[in-house]
């Protein structure tokens, strides 16, 4: 049986930047998976995590997400803009401190094919002892380009600390 689920790149971020980037992603896999475990230092204002492909900042991203939060208990957001919101929903908040790690998982299907790029994401975080948020979403990048770069960036300057891993999965037969 052929093994797959290879670690392509691992990023260790140390609180010196609001951005973590996977570059020179090979086009040799079928799907990509990103798993992140990190904190970010946003002292007071809300802060989410955006994902962009190939440095595209134009309004080519579409997303439908759903999540739970403290207030309101359920939240949904349809989003079209210059990024995919992979942590939290538009206008919701992430104010994780050092004791409040955030988890994200992103699945990108057929990232190197000639169709538009589609995927699903999920996240979870806890803030202090009273606020938690979990959610999931589906996103689309309306580009037919192969994805060769993925950037994760806080929405208003929080600095990232932790590990974000990029994996490749190859479709095939045993």
């Amino acid at each position: 049986m052929a093994e797959t689920y290879d670690l392509i790149q691992s990023l260790t971020v140390t609180g010196s930047s609001d951005t973590a980037s996977f570059t020179s992603i090979p086009g040799t896999y079928t799907d990509l998976i990103v798993q992140g475990n990190f904190t970010q230092t946003m002292p007071s204002a809300s802060c989410d995590i955006d994902m962009r492909f190939n440095s595209d900042t134009a309004g080519n991203y579409y997303q439908q997400g759903a999540g739970s939060n403290t207030t309101p208990l359920f939240r949904s957001e349809a989003f079209n803009g210059g990024s995919v919101r992979v942590m939290g929903l538009q206008n919701s908040q992430t104010t994780g401190g050092e004791n409040n790690p955030n988890f994200i998982e992103v699945h990108i299907a057929e990232y190197a094919n000639s169709y538009t790029k589609n995927g699903v994401n999920s996240w979870a975080y806890v803030v202090g002892t009273a606020t938690a948020n979990v959610g999931f979403g589906a996103f689309q990048w309306r580009s037919t380009s192969a994805i060769t770069r993925i950037d994760f960036k806080t929405t208003n300057g929080g600095l990232l600390t932790g590990t974000i891993n990029l994996y490749g999965i190859l479709a095939g037969n045993a």
Binding site: M1, T4, L7, Y62, A78, V120, F136, A138, A174
Partner: protein, 192 residues
């Protein structure tokens, strides 16, 4: 399965103890369903990963599952979903006597700009002491006429059978025809 926060995460390449294995990949086109048969035993779990759409008039559609050819009302699904154009936006669907399990969303229509994708895990598929539990996430943005609209769900299912799963039929849940470009892959996940 890779573990978050692995200590030696600076390494690249395959991890020391790989546990994710290719079993089969299908590219069904012009048919409403596809069956993975003679599924090998010996893994802990199975996972389906899909990139799909069907030719239903451009509206939301989806993928469903049947195990071991069982067409009886032996499936119990529940899923939360959220959709841009659904009223209310949140939905909660439940059927304790369904004839198939829900795998995830995919769009309808022939426009190749709009696809659905997702993953779905089938837990303990070989264990003959328990019913079978499955779950995952799937969704899409935009349907085949180019209209804006997202749809994402997180389904969970029970198949009320203790039989080991040896075949999986994956199908358009509206009976529509899967279109060219659809890709469905089956993987095995080994336990410790």
């Amino acid at each position: 399965m890779p573990i978050l926060g692995v200590i030696d995460s600076a390494k690249t390449g395959r991890l020391a103890n790989p546990s994710f294995y290719q079993i089969a990949t299908a590219t069904p086109s012009g048919v409403t369903n596809y069956t993975f048969s003679s599924i090998p035993q010996g893994y802990q779990h199975l996972q389906i990963r899909y990139f799909a759409k069907d030719n239903r008039s451009p509206v939301y559609s989806g993928l469903a599952l049947r195990f071991n050819g069982d067409t009886g009302a032996n499936y119990w699904y529940s899923f939360a979903d959220v959709a841009t154009t659904q009223v209310p936006t949140f939905g909660n669907y439940y059927d304790s006597a369904s004839t198939d399990a829900f795998c995830g969303n995919s769009p309808g229509g022939t426009n190749n700009n709009y696809w659905g994708s997702g993953w779905h895990t089938i837990f303990n598929y070989s264990d003959t002491s328990m019913w079978k539990y499955t779950g995952g996430v799937g969704g899409n943005n935009g349907v085949g006429d180019g209209s804006y609209g997202g749809f994402v769900s997180q389904p969970g299912n029970i198949w009320r059978s203790t039989a080991a799963i040896t075949s999986i039929n994956i199908r358009s849940n509206t009976g529509s025809t899967l279109t060219a470009g659809t890709r469905i892959s089956l993987y095995g996940i080994k336990g410790s």
